[in-house]
Symmetry: C2
Subunit: 190 residues, 2 copies
DNA sequence: CTCATTATGTGACAATTGTCCTTTGTCTTG
DNA sequence: CAAGACAAAGGACAATTGTCACATAATGAG
Protein backbone atom coordinates (compact mmCIF):
# COMPACT_ATOMS: atom_id res chain seq x y z
CA UNK A 1 0.00 0.00 0.00
CA UNK A 2 2.76 2.40 0.91
CA UNK A 3 4.28 1.50 -2.47
CA UNK A 4 2.02 4.20 -3.91
CA UNK A 5 3.77 6.83 -1.84
CA UNK A 6 7.14 5.47 -2.90
CA UNK A 7 6.24 5.58 -6.58
CA UNK A 8 4.93 9.09 -6.10
CA UNK A 9 8.19 10.26 -4.51
CA UNK A 10 10.32 8.39 -7.03
CA UNK A 11 8.76 10.30 -9.89
CA UNK A 12 11.06 13.04 -8.62
CA UNK A 13 13.93 11.38 -6.73
CA UNK A 14 15.13 7.78 -6.24
CA UNK A 15 15.32 6.37 -2.71
CA UNK A 16 17.02 3.30 -1.28
CA UNK A 17 14.83 0.86 0.66
CA UNK A 18 16.27 2.15 3.92
CA UNK A 19 15.68 5.74 2.97
CA UNK A 20 12.09 5.04 2.02
CA UNK A 21 11.45 3.17 5.27
CA UNK A 22 12.78 6.15 7.14
CA UNK A 23 10.61 8.57 5.18
CA UNK A 24 7.56 6.38 5.66
CA UNK A 25 8.09 6.32 9.42
CA UNK A 26 7.21 10.03 9.41
CA UNK A 27 3.78 9.36 7.92
CA UNK A 28 0.67 8.08 9.67
CA UNK A 29 -1.76 5.71 7.98
CA UNK A 30 -5.37 6.64 8.40
CA UNK A 31 -8.65 5.32 7.08
CA UNK A 32 -11.81 7.43 6.69
CA UNK A 33 -15.40 6.48 5.95
CA UNK A 34 -17.72 8.09 3.45
CA UNK A 35 -19.04 11.43 4.80
CA UNK A 36 -16.41 11.49 7.53
CA UNK A 37 -14.62 14.78 8.17
CA UNK A 38 -10.83 14.85 7.90
CA UNK A 39 -10.47 18.54 8.77
CA UNK A 40 -13.18 20.78 10.14
CA UNK A 41 -13.29 24.55 9.85
CA UNK A 42 -11.73 25.95 13.02
CA UNK A 43 -9.67 22.85 13.77
CA UNK A 44 -5.93 22.86 13.97
CA UNK A 45 -4.90 21.55 10.52
CA UNK A 46 -2.05 19.37 11.65
CA UNK A 47 -1.62 17.11 8.62
CA UNK A 48 -1.21 17.10 4.88
CA UNK A 49 -2.87 13.96 3.47
CA UNK A 50 -1.55 11.84 0.62
CA UNK A 51 -4.50 9.91 -0.83
CA UNK A 52 -3.94 6.17 -1.37
CA UNK A 53 -7.47 5.57 -2.63
CA UNK A 54 -10.98 6.95 -2.32
CA UNK A 55 -12.24 10.46 -2.98
CA UNK A 56 -12.16 13.57 -0.81
CA UNK A 57 -13.02 17.21 -1.22
CA UNK A 58 -11.95 20.46 0.41
CA UNK A 59 -14.55 23.20 0.65
CA UNK A 60 -15.72 26.36 2.28
CA UNK A 61 -19.03 27.92 3.23
CA UNK A 62 -19.60 31.58 2.33
CA UNK A 63 -21.54 34.13 4.36
CA UNK A 64 -24.77 33.24 2.57
CA UNK A 65 -24.41 29.59 3.52
CA UNK A 66 -23.41 28.34 0.08
CA UNK A 67 -20.60 25.85 -0.12
CA UNK A 68 -17.75 26.14 -2.61
CA UNK A 69 -15.47 23.24 -3.46
CA UNK A 70 -11.78 24.05 -3.74
CA UNK A 71 -10.44 20.64 -4.73
CA UNK A 72 -11.38 17.03 -5.37
CA UNK A 73 -8.61 14.64 -4.36
CA UNK A 74 -8.29 11.10 -5.68
CA UNK A 75 -5.47 8.56 -5.62
CA UNK A 76 -1.98 10.17 -5.54
CA UNK A 77 -3.25 13.66 -4.77
CA UNK A 78 -2.49 15.61 -1.64
CA UNK A 79 -5.22 17.38 0.30
CA UNK A 80 -5.32 19.68 3.31
CA UNK A 81 -6.03 23.31 4.16
CA UNK A 82 -2.69 24.61 2.82
CA UNK A 83 -2.95 28.01 4.44
CA UNK A 84 -3.72 26.62 7.88
CA UNK A 85 -1.20 23.78 7.54
CA UNK A 86 1.76 25.92 6.50
CA UNK A 87 0.98 28.78 8.87
CA UNK A 88 0.09 26.45 11.72
CA UNK A 89 -3.22 28.21 12.18
CA UNK A 90 -6.84 27.17 12.35
CA UNK A 91 -8.54 25.72 9.31
CA UNK A 92 -10.72 27.90 7.09
CA UNK A 93 -11.58 24.89 4.94
CA UNK A 94 -13.33 21.62 5.58
CA UNK A 95 -12.04 18.36 4.17
CA UNK A 96 -14.37 15.37 4.01
CA UNK A 97 -14.84 12.09 2.18
CA UNK A 98 -17.12 11.37 -0.76
CA UNK A 99 -16.09 7.72 -0.59
CA UNK A 100 -14.30 5.51 1.94
CA UNK A 101 -10.66 6.59 1.70
CA UNK A 102 -7.19 5.60 2.85
CA UNK A 103 -4.49 8.18 3.43
CA UNK A 104 -0.91 8.67 4.60
CA UNK A 105 -0.60 11.92 6.51
CA UNK A 106 2.41 13.96 7.53
CA UNK A 107 2.62 16.76 10.08
CA UNK A 108 4.46 19.98 9.30
CA UNK A 109 7.03 19.14 11.99
CA UNK A 110 7.82 15.81 10.37
CA UNK A 111 7.93 17.39 6.93
CA UNK A 112 10.45 19.99 8.09
CA UNK A 113 12.41 17.31 9.95
CA UNK A 114 12.70 15.24 6.77
CA UNK A 115 13.72 18.30 4.76
CA UNK A 116 16.41 19.19 7.28
CA UNK A 117 17.76 15.63 7.52
CA UNK A 118 17.53 14.48 3.91
CA UNK A 119 18.63 16.70 1.07
CA UNK A 120 16.68 14.50 -1.33
CA UNK A 121 13.45 15.10 0.54
CA UNK A 122 13.99 18.84 0.64
CA UNK A 123 14.41 18.65 -3.13
CA UNK A 124 11.28 16.52 -3.42
CA UNK A 125 9.12 18.88 -1.37
CA UNK A 126 10.50 21.92 -3.17
CA UNK A 127 9.66 20.42 -6.56
CA UNK A 128 6.28 19.18 -5.37
CA UNK A 129 5.36 22.57 -3.94
CA UNK A 130 6.46 24.24 -7.17
CA UNK A 131 4.20 21.89 -9.11
CA UNK A 132 1.35 22.69 -6.73
CA UNK A 133 2.00 26.38 -7.19
CA UNK A 134 1.95 26.04 -10.97
CA UNK A 135 -1.29 24.03 -10.79
CA UNK A 136 -2.84 26.74 -8.59
CA UNK A 137 -1.86 29.33 -11.17
CA UNK A 138 -3.61 27.30 -13.84
CA UNK A 139 -6.71 27.12 -11.69
CA UNK A 140 -6.61 30.90 -11.20
CA UNK A 141 -6.28 31.40 -14.96
CA UNK A 142 -9.22 29.09 -15.60
CA UNK A 143 -11.30 30.96 -13.02
CA UNK A 144 -10.58 34.40 -14.42
CA UNK A 145 -10.49 33.69 -18.16
CA UNK A 146 -12.80 30.79 -18.80
CA UNK A 147 -16.57 30.77 -18.70
CA UNK A 148 -18.48 28.06 -16.86
CA UNK A 149 -18.67 25.78 -19.89
CA UNK A 150 -14.93 25.92 -20.48
CA UNK A 151 -14.24 25.31 -16.80
CA UNK A 152 -16.54 22.30 -16.96
CA UNK A 153 -14.60 20.87 -19.89
CA UNK A 154 -11.31 21.50 -18.11
CA UNK A 155 -12.66 19.74 -15.01
CA UNK A 156 -13.73 16.57 -16.77
CA UNK A 157 -10.38 16.48 -18.53
CA UNK A 158 -8.50 16.98 -15.26
CA UNK A 159 -10.53 14.41 -13.34
CA UNK A 160 -11.55 11.65 -15.77
CA UNK A 161 -14.39 9.59 -14.38
CA UNK A 162 -15.33 12.12 -11.73
CA UNK A 163 -18.78 12.66 -13.27
CA UNK A 164 -19.58 9.02 -12.60
CA UNK A 165 -18.53 9.31 -8.98
CA UNK A 166 -20.09 12.54 -7.69
CA UNK A 167 -23.51 14.21 -8.03
CA UNK A 168 -23.71 17.14 -10.40
CA UNK A 169 -24.62 19.48 -7.59
CA UNK A 170 -21.04 19.09 -6.33
CA UNK A 171 -19.63 19.65 -9.81
CA UNK A 172 -21.66 22.88 -9.93
CA UNK A 173 -20.31 23.86 -6.53
CA UNK A 174 -16.75 23.36 -7.81
CA UNK A 175 -17.46 25.42 -10.93
CA UNK A 176 -19.08 28.22 -8.94
CA UNK A 177 -22.45 28.04 -10.65
CA UNK A 178 -25.87 26.77 -9.61
CA UNK A 179 -26.97 23.18 -10.21
CA UNK A 180 -29.59 24.45 -12.66
CA UNK A 181 -27.14 26.48 -14.74
CA UNK A 182 -24.86 23.47 -15.02
CA UNK A 183 -27.81 21.41 -16.17
CA UNK A 184 -28.56 23.99 -18.87
CA UNK A 185 -24.94 24.01 -20.01
CA UNK A 186 -24.65 20.26 -20.35
CA UNK A 187 -27.99 19.88 -22.12
CA UNK A 188 -26.98 22.36 -24.82
CA UNK A 189 -26.30 20.72 -28.17
CA UNK A 190 -23.70 22.90 -29.85
CA UNK B 1 19.58 48.92 -4.77
CA UNK B 2 20.31 45.23 -4.48
CA UNK B 3 19.91 45.73 -0.73
CA UNK B 4 16.18 45.24 -1.32
CA UNK B 5 16.81 41.72 -2.58
CA UNK B 6 19.05 41.03 0.40
CA UNK B 7 16.44 42.21 2.87
CA UNK B 8 13.85 40.13 1.06
CA UNK B 9 15.97 36.98 1.30
CA UNK B 10 16.97 37.70 4.90
CA UNK B 11 13.35 37.69 5.99
CA UNK B 12 13.81 33.93 5.66
CA UNK B 13 17.55 33.16 6.05
CA UNK B 14 20.62 35.15 7.03
CA UNK B 15 23.50 35.45 4.55
CA UNK B 16 27.08 36.59 4.92
CA UNK B 17 28.27 39.39 2.62
CA UNK B 18 30.17 36.86 0.50
CA UNK B 19 27.17 34.59 0.24
CA UNK B 20 24.94 37.46 -0.81
CA UNK B 21 27.43 38.65 -3.42
CA UNK B 22 27.50 35.14 -4.82
CA UNK B 23 23.70 34.92 -4.88
CA UNK B 24 23.44 38.35 -6.50
CA UNK B 25 25.85 37.31 -9.26
CA UNK B 26 23.14 34.93 -10.47
CA UNK B 27 20.67 37.76 -11.02
CA UNK B 28 20.53 40.25 -13.88
CA UNK B 29 19.56 43.85 -13.37
CA UNK B 30 17.09 45.17 -15.88
CA UNK B 31 15.19 48.40 -16.36
CA UNK B 32 11.86 48.67 -18.21
CA UNK B 33 9.87 51.67 -19.39
CA UNK B 34 6.17 52.24 -18.96
CA UNK B 35 4.15 50.15 -21.45
CA UNK B 36 7.19 48.00 -22.25
CA UNK B 37 6.67 44.25 -22.42
CA UNK B 38 8.74 42.04 -20.13
CA UNK B 39 7.27 38.75 -21.36
CA UNK B 40 5.08 38.28 -24.42
CA UNK B 41 2.63 35.46 -24.97
CA UNK B 42 4.45 32.80 -26.98
CA UNK B 43 7.92 33.87 -25.83
CA UNK B 44 10.27 31.63 -23.95
CA UNK B 45 9.77 32.77 -20.32
CA UNK B 46 13.36 32.58 -19.24
CA UNK B 47 13.28 34.71 -16.09
CA UNK B 48 11.50 35.24 -12.84
CA UNK B 49 11.57 38.97 -11.96
CA UNK B 50 12.04 40.44 -8.51
CA UNK B 51 10.63 43.97 -8.56
CA UNK B 52 12.87 46.68 -7.08
CA UNK B 53 10.43 49.47 -7.88
CA UNK B 54 7.70 50.38 -10.33
CA UNK B 55 4.52 48.52 -11.19
CA UNK B 56 3.93 45.58 -13.54
CA UNK B 57 1.05 43.32 -14.39
CA UNK B 58 0.67 39.81 -15.78
CA UNK B 59 -2.36 39.14 -17.94
CA UNK B 60 -4.01 37.00 -20.55
CA UNK B 61 -6.41 37.53 -23.44
CA UNK B 62 -9.38 35.19 -23.73
CA UNK B 63 -10.93 33.89 -26.92
CA UNK B 64 -13.31 36.84 -27.09
CA UNK B 65 -10.43 39.29 -26.94
CA UNK B 66 -10.98 40.39 -23.36
CA UNK B 67 -7.95 40.75 -21.16
CA UNK B 68 -7.78 39.38 -17.64
CA UNK B 69 -5.18 40.50 -15.12
CA UNK B 70 -3.60 37.75 -13.04
CA UNK B 71 -1.35 39.83 -10.82
CA UNK B 72 -0.14 43.34 -10.10
CA UNK B 73 3.47 43.40 -8.91
CA UNK B 74 5.00 46.25 -6.96
CA UNK B 75 8.21 46.56 -4.93
CA UNK B 76 9.40 43.25 -3.41
CA UNK B 77 7.00 41.10 -5.44
CA UNK B 78 8.04 38.47 -7.95
CA UNK B 79 6.45 38.32 -11.38
CA UNK B 80 6.68 35.95 -14.34
CA UNK B 81 4.60 33.35 -16.14
CA UNK B 82 5.08 30.65 -13.48
CA UNK B 83 3.82 27.81 -15.62
CA UNK B 84 6.07 28.65 -18.55
CA UNK B 85 9.04 29.47 -16.33
CA UNK B 86 8.98 26.27 -14.29
CA UNK B 87 8.12 23.99 -17.20
CA UNK B 88 10.54 25.77 -19.55
CA UNK B 89 7.78 26.23 -22.09
CA UNK B 90 6.31 29.14 -23.99
CA UNK B 91 4.48 31.87 -22.17
CA UNK B 92 0.70 31.90 -22.00
CA UNK B 93 0.77 35.19 -20.13
CA UNK B 94 2.01 38.65 -20.95
CA UNK B 95 3.92 40.75 -18.45
CA UNK B 96 4.20 44.48 -19.01
CA UNK B 97 4.84 47.71 -17.14
CA UNK B 98 2.30 50.20 -15.86
CA UNK B 99 5.16 52.42 -14.71
CA UNK B 100 8.90 52.60 -15.33
CA UNK B 101 10.30 49.67 -13.35
CA UNK B 102 13.58 48.17 -12.18
CA UNK B 103 14.00 44.45 -11.66
CA UNK B 104 16.46 41.74 -10.74
CA UNK B 105 15.79 38.62 -12.77
CA UNK B 106 16.95 35.04 -12.37
CA UNK B 107 16.83 32.22 -14.88
CA UNK B 108 15.59 28.78 -13.89
CA UNK B 109 19.10 27.37 -14.50
CA UNK B 110 20.65 29.85 -12.08
CA UNK B 111 17.91 29.24 -9.55
CA UNK B 112 18.51 25.49 -9.64
CA UNK B 113 22.27 26.06 -9.53
CA UNK B 114 21.93 28.16 -6.38
CA UNK B 115 19.63 25.56 -4.81
CA UNK B 116 22.11 22.78 -5.56
CA UNK B 117 25.11 24.72 -4.30
CA UNK B 118 23.69 26.48 -1.27
CA UNK B 119 21.49 24.68 1.20
CA UNK B 120 20.30 28.03 2.54
CA UNK B 121 19.05 29.07 -0.88
CA UNK B 122 17.24 25.81 -1.43
CA UNK B 123 15.52 26.45 1.91
CA UNK B 124 14.76 30.02 0.88
CA UNK B 125 13.20 29.04 -2.45
CA UNK B 126 11.25 26.20 -0.83
CA UNK B 127 9.78 28.55 1.75
CA UNK B 128 9.15 31.28 -0.82
CA UNK B 129 7.38 28.87 -3.17
CA UNK B 130 5.30 27.56 -0.28
CA UNK B 131 4.27 31.12 0.54
CA UNK B 132 3.40 31.68 -3.12
CA UNK B 133 1.38 28.49 -3.12
CA UNK B 134 -0.53 29.56 -0.02
CA UNK B 135 -1.18 32.99 -1.53
CA UNK B 136 -2.49 31.33 -4.70
CA UNK B 137 -4.85 29.24 -2.60
CA UNK B 138 -6.16 32.40 -0.96
CA UNK B 139 -6.72 33.94 -4.38
CA UNK B 140 -8.61 30.81 -5.49
CA UNK B 141 -10.78 30.97 -2.38
CA UNK B 142 -11.52 34.64 -2.98
CA UNK B 143 -12.42 33.89 -6.60
CA UNK B 144 -14.81 31.07 -5.77
CA UNK B 145 -16.38 32.33 -2.54
CA UNK B 146 -16.41 36.10 -2.75
CA UNK B 147 -18.62 38.30 -4.86
CA UNK B 148 -17.17 41.19 -6.84
CA UNK B 149 -17.61 43.70 -4.03
CA UNK B 150 -15.77 41.50 -1.54
CA UNK B 151 -12.98 40.84 -4.03
CA UNK B 152 -12.68 44.58 -4.56
CA UNK B 153 -12.27 45.16 -0.84
CA UNK B 154 -9.72 42.36 -0.61
CA UNK B 155 -7.79 43.90 -3.51
CA UNK B 156 -7.51 47.40 -2.02
CA UNK B 157 -6.42 45.84 1.25
CA UNK B 158 -3.83 43.68 -0.49
CA UNK B 159 -2.47 46.52 -2.65
CA UNK B 160 -2.77 49.76 -0.67
CA UNK B 161 -2.48 52.77 -2.94
CA UNK B 162 -3.09 50.80 -6.13
CA UNK B 163 -6.30 52.71 -6.87
CA UNK B 164 -4.29 55.91 -7.15
CA UNK B 165 -1.83 54.31 -9.56
CA UNK B 166 -3.94 52.44 -12.12
CA UNK B 167 -7.15 53.17 -14.07
CA UNK B 168 -10.30 51.50 -12.83
CA UNK B 169 -10.70 49.61 -16.06
CA UNK B 170 -7.65 47.56 -15.03
CA UNK B 171 -9.05 47.01 -11.56
CA UNK B 172 -12.22 45.70 -13.21
CA UNK B 173 -10.14 43.45 -15.41
CA UNK B 174 -8.44 42.02 -12.32
CA UNK B 175 -11.79 41.47 -10.59
CA UNK B 176 -13.32 39.83 -13.65
CA UNK B 177 -16.17 42.29 -14.07
CA UNK B 178 -16.90 45.07 -16.54
CA UNK B 179 -15.75 48.61 -16.01
CA UNK B 180 -19.38 49.71 -15.67
CA UNK B 181 -20.24 47.13 -13.02
CA UNK B 182 -17.25 48.19 -10.95
CA UNK B 183 -18.32 51.80 -11.25
CA UNK B 184 -21.78 50.90 -9.97
CA UNK B 185 -20.34 48.90 -7.06
CA UNK B 186 -18.09 51.69 -5.87
CA UNK B 187 -20.77 54.37 -6.21
CA UNK B 188 -23.16 52.44 -3.95
CA UNK B 189 -23.60 54.00 -0.52
CA UNK B 190 -24.47 51.14 1.83
C1' DC C 1 -2.32 76.61 -24.13
C1' DT C 2 -5.05 73.75 -27.05
C1' DC C 3 -6.65 69.70 -28.92
C1' DA C 4 -6.97 64.88 -28.88
C1' DT C 5 -7.13 60.98 -26.15
C1' DT C 6 -8.28 58.53 -22.19
C1' DA C 7 -10.88 57.76 -17.99
C1' DT C 8 -15.15 57.70 -15.56
C1' DG C 9 -20.09 57.74 -14.51
C1' DT C 10 -24.84 56.80 -15.77
C1' DG C 11 -29.11 55.38 -18.24
C1' DA C 12 -31.54 51.97 -21.26
C1' DC C 13 -31.87 47.58 -22.70
C1' DA C 14 -30.41 42.69 -23.55
C1' DA C 15 -28.43 38.49 -22.01
C1' DT C 16 -27.19 35.50 -18.48
C1' DT C 17 -27.76 33.35 -14.27
C1' DG C 18 -30.04 32.41 -9.84
C1' DT C 19 -34.15 31.05 -7.35
C1' DC C 20 -38.20 28.57 -6.71
C1' DC C 21 -41.13 25.00 -8.03
C1' DT C 22 -42.80 20.68 -10.09
C1' DT C 23 -42.05 16.20 -12.07
C1' DT C 24 -39.73 11.94 -12.73
C1' DG C 25 -36.70 8.23 -11.85
C1' DT C 26 -33.39 5.75 -8.87
C1' DC C 27 -31.58 4.08 -4.77
C1' DT C 28 -31.68 2.98 0.17
C1' DT C 29 -33.61 1.18 4.18
C1' DG C 30 -36.74 -0.62 7.28
C1' DC D 1 -42.35 -4.29 -1.08
C1' DA D 2 -43.23 0.40 0.15
C1' DA D 3 -41.83 4.95 1.81
C1' DG D 4 -38.64 8.28 1.98
C1' DA D 5 -34.44 10.51 0.37
C1' DC D 6 -31.83 11.99 -3.24
C1' DA D 7 -30.59 13.33 -8.02
C1' DA D 8 -31.68 15.54 -12.19
C1' DA D 9 -34.27 18.18 -15.75
C1' DG D 10 -36.95 21.93 -17.09
C1' DG D 11 -40.36 26.00 -16.72
C1' DA D 12 -41.37 30.66 -14.88
C1' DC D 13 -39.82 34.65 -13.06
C1' DA D 14 -36.51 37.83 -10.65
C1' DA D 15 -32.02 39.68 -10.03
C1' DT D 16 -27.57 40.63 -11.66
C1' DT D 17 -24.39 41.83 -15.01
C1' DG D 18 -22.86 43.02 -19.68
C1' DT D 19 -23.29 45.96 -23.69
C1' DC D 20 -24.03 50.14 -25.96
C1' DA D 21 -24.51 55.00 -26.05
C1' DC D 22 -23.51 59.37 -24.47
C1' DA D 23 -21.83 63.20 -21.37
C1' DT D 24 -18.27 65.07 -18.71
C1' DA D 25 -13.78 65.29 -16.45
C1' DA D 26 -8.91 64.48 -16.44
C1' DT D 27 -4.58 63.80 -18.75
C1' DG D 28 -0.90 64.24 -22.08
C1' DA D 29 1.49 65.57 -26.39
C1' DG D 30 2.92 69.02 -29.32
Amino acid sequence: MSEKLRQHIEEIIKLTDEEFEYVLSHFTYRRFLKNQYVIQNGDYAKYDYFVLNGLLKSWQIDEKGKSHIVLFATENWWISDPQAYHNQSNAILNVDCLEDSETLSISLENREKLCAEMRKMEYFFRKKTTAGYVASQKRILSLISYNAKQRYEYLIQQYPGLLQRVPKSLIASYLGISRETLSRLTSQRP
